[in-house]
Symmetry: D2
Subunit: 405 residues, 4 copies
């Protein structure tokens, strides 16, 4: 067991991380610094202060990171139209590097030599926290209690809490059967009945959105203004990044948008089923592709598409702070300089429908694309040579007996 | 002007290709063979026979290619989860290589030395037809009247038709303002009001699907059975490929599924707006990803995702018959050997929702993925070493002063 | 410590694996099966039999795997022009999956439940052995003594050997200061003075090749015949794969060919310096590119080049038996069907110079490529349209103010 | 024929471009501006002035572009270790975009509406010139005489010259049978006996280098200093980019380094054989990889390797001024910030041998990589977990019956 003097704990104030707090104090006989972040998860963060104080914590950090989260993590990711395995918008993945960064910053400020988190040894989050931490502070010690202790069942955890006087809040409402994670980008559900891939998810699992069935019968129209690939205004009203996302979550959720039920491949080697609600993100992905469709060069767009799966994997697997992600980001950001304009969307019962896009930087040229006579803007005869030379290698091959017929 | 003895014309029986037929006879003073294909476009093909006969055509080919189209073109493409520029399901693109193939086969059978088609000089279709033709018969001559003649406006075309006694059917219904193309996979719309990217598409443009608003208030559930990556049964009833797709179009269209409004990048260098209805294809894409999610290895899936944009571009730009597409297809097909099982979907007002997937070849292992104790199936301590070594290069870099902080 | 009944040990007969043999017997109290392979490393394998018998081993496998090694591992790898990090021909990497395969086959034959190897915990080889073993027999136990025991220094190892009566052969010649590995494809050197990246390698380190300085002053000419991407004859004499490679090693080594001194990135996260002699492989890489240059389609060649670094990494990191490597191999092999013909090389003091290539499947067409008049084989006017349409997107962009000037 | 007022001609002063000059004046009845560049081709550029004046040209540009060429084109390209089709160092390709840029700059300065060049309609150079020109000045007219006129044979050209009083210099030395191109990076040879791929190139074809046979028997040692991926000093002496390259050409050529004989795939669809001498470039490629090997992160290096073939193709096919090349360059340049240090090379009869590399930014850590005990810098036990989790997906697959055995 490592010799630890002071550890910064990612502390939610809930039962699990409270047990961890106590366990760290007892097991490592070290000082604990708590760090609680408001990432837009929709829960109060202030109550964590009293709880930490009650357990004797002297250095307590409670940060509102919502703007930094959206501005420096969510928005850069959406510039790449990032989707993992064709479906997942990386809501959990993208929050972890920010938490890792704050853990290390706080460790540096408080002179702590270790960090700790409550992620299990089976999931991706431990990797995301720890790769980030190591990349930012190579000598840091990492304590991952779920990989060390023997409290692997919920029952043992409760016993430990009770034995050590950690308050277990028993709400009137039943404990959710799902393992959940939330931030401004999404809320996720794993476990419970989802562990059978054939069983349909339950309607009452979802928390952020109404079902398409229960969404309004009237469509909602929306105009999003882009500047350098990021949304800066909704219906003409300029907003901060976090406000944009919160507002899109509200509108999207009300229209039954952004639910997802998938089986994904974890970095640690297993498949796992997850359900996600990402109302704002679902809207942003569709709209960003639309604004890029008129402002981005074809080959730039295709290069981005070819690199996207790699970029998405880097985020999913926790390499946000790696040099290769930073290098890719430079290229992605450089591509966005002309991604300016407005996208008009129609939201209706789960559907995000693009109905218009315009831009002063549009590369769409109606004079050239028209089906009417174009007055010489485009010389159709050029196509003959274009095709002939593109075909030449195949014609030579076929003439040497390699026709696929 | 090339010296042509006999030309095979892709003939729809409509005004444009009837004018082309006449123009070929007059301009090249050559024999014309007509080829009319039923690709599921939803129009009668037999009437083309009488029209061709009336213009003196002796060799008339009318083929029902629906099964070949879906089995050998559509299904292989969907094995790769193919999407062009993040949105387009390639409905037009995938039909062209089959037409090219038949044109060449017929040229070989009839001893023709040329082919001809009615695609314009501004679009992708000319490229797709001609690249295919050249790859399959390198010495073939290609006549693309739209690049040669001076009938570029509709008015001139009508004049020509009238002057040469080509019957212009004047239906009671107004001529569509859109340029359209249809086959079993989709129907497309270009031109008209769509030439302004900011103008919303009109509701009465769509032909295959009801709007989400007009779709039933009751969801439709569906089970699709996969074998080697292809759908072989719907709700347990085995069907041929074309029947599968027709049935999915019917069900999807009735539920408001598969409409798309995009601006895409043509191979000839311009951006163009297109609207598409692809009800069955939209369902197939979602379902295929779902069955792959439990049956495909992670790295195989990721490799497919990384290569997909390239593969999609090859199909979009007309390289179906190229050696590189054939080589990629070998890899894609090889990946599908275990893609077997059943996907359950819920269709509701434009939404395709996956509610379950199961397979005898599933790689999902609930014992390992579970949030409960797993009885030793997975050793959480392994994760520590996994993370440590994955972090090593970044730790060394940070210790040499390269921390991103 | 795992409960092991019988373990198959990759046994060279040398000091290290002899100590491991004894240590396994003592520590695990289990039966040991030895497996010794002739991969062309240039050392006798039969002496391993007596040594194993002397330590009480009852099941002793000594296999000549040279043909299988070259035919099923080396040749398929060279079909992809595989090079890791621009330099390394993967001589060690490619032998490991064959050893892993034999270990598992022998485990299956002898009813063993474990395998063991002598690779250290810092290198790539442990990963290659074990990933292979797990992929082929998922429940197998792996014993990697270097990660478990406390004999980490050479001195302690010698003490252990002496204490347990393991014969330490003290040759007249001094023990090499390098860690070496050899098989038919290469011999490698690590450690010693190489651990300072600025220090020049020593001339007397090299074992397989003369220096360019000491190579003959007369060039050697060579003709290699390819069939489906593999060499089948040297100077017109048909040979088996292993004979081809042995012969190329002999000729190449005599001409000072194939030495390499690099710093490479190990899979476990560190950089390490290695020196390699790969005489035959260096010739094969150059010659294979030459035969492909006239027989392979351009886009197929480019696709292979784009995928090669990924393929090389898969082999380097031990994923030979992974589904993604197998999938890539299908594509690579499919590309080789027309890679037939003859390459003529000139070898001279370290240089491999291509002086000619010919093939019945050549796509080189002198009539089209000629600088003389070509009699109409190629229409230069086609190039105008080709360029115009390829430029169109950039012209539109520039006309909208995006010129890079 | 386009209506042209003033045209900027890329003018070498030789016979071909002199004929073009005259032909432009006569055919287009327009003013001609000549542009002659010193790119290090090793021929006097000043004589072009008198020749142009003699033909009545009023605006004559003669530029020494050597430093700009190496600094802004050659060096950026070498940062990516750029090689086309595994062999070709792109010596011709990389010079064309600079000429295109100057043609357009001069057109803008002189108010010309057209440019012209002497490249044939079969090659890559026309594409490179014209794509560059269109990207930089979308409305420019391009006159490519070789695609327009009827002077396709040398004889007709000579007749034209004689008829129009264009002086044909008849040197004592015989006209080279090769089509050649030279600049500071390389000299190339095409045509003549090279049009048979089986015929060996002739020794007396080469102009810049001695043969390995004729190179000194004594090796030359060299130390190259890198800053941000570019060479800034040779043997400790700081030099400008062009001086670095000229000096490396001198040293390399004297040691028989940098000859190449290949068959390459042209953009216009045919295969063509070329011989190249690139002494300095061959040294730079090897040395750059060596300095990157100790200063670059593994994944950054691998990402660069995966993108390099695409980047090389972009340069080969003339897309230097495209947005996708510019985007890739941003990423490549960003990767070079730590590529600093010194590489020591040994040059000997055609061989470039790396004998050492050192850097203050080295990521090589001898303490971790050592074969000796490392005092705990690396925990070998970590490797077990690393392997286990990397193997997990394959173990699950094998346990479901998917073992490749």
């Amino acid at each position: 067991m490592a010799d630890v003097k002071k550890v910064v704990l990612a502390y939610s104030g809930g039962l699990d991380t409270s047990v961890i707090l106590k366990w760290l104090q007892d097991t490592y006989n070290c000082e604990v610094v708590t760090f609680t972040a408001d990432l837009g998860q929709g829960e109060e963060v202030e109550p964590a202060r009293a709880k930490a104080q009650a357990m004797g914590v002297k250095e307590i950090y409670i940060d509102d990171l919502r703007e930094e989260f959206v501005r420096d993590f969510v928005f850069p990711m959406f510039r790449a139209n990032t989707v993992y395995e064709g479906e997942y918008l990386l809501g959990t993945s993208i929050a972890r590097p920010l938490i890792a960064k704050r853990l290390i910053e706080i460790a540096n400020e408080t002179g702590a030599d270790a960090i700790s988190h409550g992620a299990t040894g089976k999931g991706n989050d431990q990797v995301r926290f720890e790769l980030g931490a190591y990349a930012l502070k190579p000598g840091v010690k990492v304590i991952a209690p779920w990989r060390e202790w023997d409290l692997l069942s919920r029952e043992k955890l409760m016993d430990y809490a009770e034995k050590h006087g950690i308050p277990i809040e028993r709400h009137g409402k039943k404990k959710s059967p799902y393992s959940m994670d939330a931030n401004l980008l999404h809320i996720s559900y794993e476990g419970g009945v989802l562990e059978d891939t054939w069983t349909e998810h339950e309607e009452d699992m979802w928390r952020w959105s109404v079902s398409p069935e229960n969404a309004p019968d009237q469509a909602t129209y929306l105009e999003l203004t882009y500047r350098n690939g990021d949304i800066v205004a909704i219906d003409g009203v300029e907003m901060t990044p976090a406000t944009v996302l919160a507002e899109l979550n509200r509108i999207g959720g009300a229209n039954g948008i952004g639910r997802l039920d998938i089986v994904e491949n974890r970095y640690v080697g297993m498949k796992s089923r997850g359900c996600y609600e990402t109302p704002g993100g679902t809207i942003m992905l569709k709209a960003h592709r639309a604004i890029e469709s008129i402002t981005l060069d074809r080959e730039v767009a295709h290069l981005k598409d070819e690199l996207m799966p790699k970029y998405a994997s880097l985020i999913y697997t926790g390499y946000w702070w790696s040099p290769e992600r930073l290098m890719l980001q430079q290229m992605i950001d450089a591509s966005q300089v002309n991604v300016n304009g407005v996208v008009r969307l129609k939201l209706y019962k789960g559907n995000v429908i693009v109905t218009g896009r315009k831009s002063d930087d549009s590369l769409f040229d109606a004079n050239i694309a028209t089906f009417e006579e174009d007055g010489g803007a485009y010389n159709q005869a050029d196509a003959a040579g274009f095709i002939k030379l593109n075909a030449l290698r195949m014609r030579i091959a076929a003439s040497k007996g390699r026709s696929p017929l």
